[in-house]
């Protein structure tokens, strides 16, 4: 039983955590991919920037002596989401829209987004330095221990993890309602489906583009903040996020927000299950193994250092066998 609890803690919970982060990032990337038709490479760095904005707001709140029942950074996250959304719209206006207006090849815009990536990275490290920071000032990370029947160990959940789950579920449901019920949400789907016809129908592209960046920016800021709350805030937070997020987008099908959620979860769980030490789960059955089989102390599919290979491997498999992804997205 102890082993099972270990599995739940180390594989299921961490898989769901990182999967939620990927999903939140991937929703933005897939919407941008579907509507603006380019791979937005600066997305992971928008997550870092969002987390830093949360950090700054949180520090200001802490300095003002503000207290709350939830982590201050979680409260700071909401204004940070708004600021990041505005930043995203501004970045689009200054760096991407001129290329769209000129009718540039989308790949030029992808390259511009790489330029933006470097600029954001440079600015974050210039002003934030390179050290890691805790998102808690004068607060403690609350830890919930849920006893598991028949086991000595407890299932462990931290407060930011619980908040992340709740936030992800609420965000995905809200997004689903928005896309299926609201006029603007349907217009977003229409533009993603057939931009020419959308134009003919008189759909205001500007509003759709803004909405896309608002959704992408808010979710990126939230994901960055939550990830930093769960671990620490590092200026190279974006490193190692970009590839899994793009893998999630392609696995889920480009332009498919639900696919992005499914893809994010798939990648998240695959990563944690691939690096999970399965020897722990097999240990209780030691006696029933044949004599020649000696259970190694460590039995994982992929060493932890190579975690990044997991999303890449999944990406390759999908590109070979089903480039449209699970949810039949576009092949651009």
């Amino acid at each position: 039983m102890n082993e099972l609890v270990f599995f739940i803690n180390k594989a299921l919970i961490s898989g769901a955590i990182i999967g939620s982060i990927y999903a939140l990032g991937a929703i933005g990337v897939t919407l941008i991919f579907g509507i603006l038709r380019f791979a937005h490479f600066a997305h992971a760095d928008m997550m870092t920037v969002g987390a830093f904005i949360s950090y700054i707001l949180m520090s200001m709140m802490a300095a003002a002596g503000f207290t709350a029942p939830v982590p201050l950074a979680f409260l700071a996250m909401f204004p940070a989401m708004i600021i990041t959304a505005l930043l995203a719209i501004w970045l689009d206006k200054v760096f991407y829209k001129p290329f769209r207006d000129k009718g540039s090849n989308p790949v030029i815009i992808v390259m511009a987004s790489l330029g933006v990536t470097l600029m954001l990275q440079g600015l974050v490290r210039l002003f934030g330095g390179t050290r890691a920071r805790s998102m808690y000032i004068g607060e403690n990370k609350e830890i919930y221990r849920i006893p598991f029947p028949g086991a000595k160990r407890d299932i462990i959940l931290t407060e930011p993890q619980v908040l992340l789950f709740i936030f992800t579920v609420v965000a995905v449901i809200a997004l689903a309602i928005f896309l299926s019920r609201s006029r603007l949400g349907k217009a977003m789907r229409a533009v993603s489906d057939n931009p020419d016809l959308a134009k003919i129908s008189g759909i205001n592209l500007k509003h759709v583009v803004w909405t896309t960046w608002i959704i992408g920016g808010t979710l990126a800021a939230a994901a960055g903040t939550m990830l930093s709350l769960d671990v620490v805030l590092k200026p190279d937070l974006s490193f190692g996020l970009l590839l899994p997020i793009f893998a999630a987008v392609i696995v889920g099908g480009i332009g498919q927000p639900y696919g992005a959620v499914a893809g994010g979860m798939l990648i998240g769980f695959s990563e944690t299950l691939a690096v999970f030490n399965w020897a722990v789960l097999l240990r209780p059955f030691k006696e029933s193994f044949p004599d020649w089989f000696e259970l190694p102390t460590k039995l994982a599919f992929v060493p932890t250092e190579y975690k990044l290979a997991v999303p890449f491997f999944i990406l390759i498999i999908v590109l070979i066998y089903r480039p449209t992804g699970i949810f039949k997205g576009k092949v651009i």
Binding site: F99, N105, V107, G115, L126, L243, A247, A309
Partner: protein, 423 residues
Amino acid sequence: MSGSFLQKYSRDFVFFGGLLAIIVGIFLSQGSAYTSRMLVEAACYAIIALGLTIQWGYAGLFNIGIMGFIAAGSFMSVFVSFPVNDKFWNGPGPSMLVQPILILLIGIALIVGLRKIKQIPQGLRTFLTIIIFAVTYLLVVAGIEPAAKVIETDAGFIGGLGLPVFIGWIAAGIVAGLIAWFVGKICLGLRTDYLAIATLGIAQIIKTFLKNADWLTNGTLTVSPLPWPVPKPSDGNFTEARTIYFAMTAVVVIIIYMLLERAYHAPWGRMMRAIRDNEEAASSMGKNVNRRRLEIFILGSILMGLGGSMLITFTGLFDPSGFIDLNHTFLIWVMVILGGTGNNRGAILGAILVYIIWVMSEPMALWLFDLVRVYGLEWFNWQAPGDLDSRALQMRVFVIGLTIILVLRFAPNGMLPERIRQD
């Protein structure tokens, strides 16, 4: 004739003349050691930039994993040319490695063979491929792990083969080409965004592998001093050694340039440009499009592997952690788009000029931020953070990003535009 010739190439004369003046200026002010080091490194970058300019400029292929090809090539050349490590060859290591290598080869042979057997239905073939892959992978990993431990404790790492450096460089090109073949096979049928994502991924994985496979690459302990194909500075005359190395790289650059120019004006080059400029019209020529693209992707990557290994050989140190996206991917992008996409001379010009600016910008950024520190304290009583110097260097990241966008936006053709439209 000379008038029109001058006119036609006036931009070339102006820019290359300016570049020469800058180099002479640096030589006079900084001395020969500094200048020769800069020039050799710039020439190596020029080879890499030529690789990128044919991928991007000729065929519109979006490779943002240049670092991976450089790193893989460099490792290969180190492996081939580094002196033999007797401790490894006399120990149990080699025999322990035989089994996983054999399994790997059998696994690859089975997967390749399976693809050829068309009688088996597609679904079953896919299923079998995955099973074979998984079994091979697990067996290879299980075989390598104990071997790696033994090698690391007994011998440090496996060392090299002790072959001539030239062979190492050729091997570097081959391994980079093989990786390109693998990535290209999968991604080139799709829009080039996919290629960007895949190259980004493979570059990170190659670097992670080289960094962590201590038994193979010596990991963070690094490998040095790397052998040179020509007399080393430590053997005697410092300036002469560097000059010879520079002459060698310059010759390589010129040979590659001449070959590429010929290819560019040959039917092959025309076809590549046709594909780039109008994919739909070109694809009516049949599915040759993806084949041509694969060719050029491999060719460009070979140049990246070659240039990268020549660069690492020159520095004399193989450090897997030393490969970073900024220096080994994005800097090269700036070189190519600033120099002039699709123009081979533009790539060379861009590589040398941007590298000079890049080298100079480090002391400049430090100096600038030192001013900020001094005057910040003096005027505003602002205490600069302790890691200001490392932050100052981040300024360069920002500038590279900004340069990419400014060039794309305001000078999309670069300094020496592709001149095919006048021909």
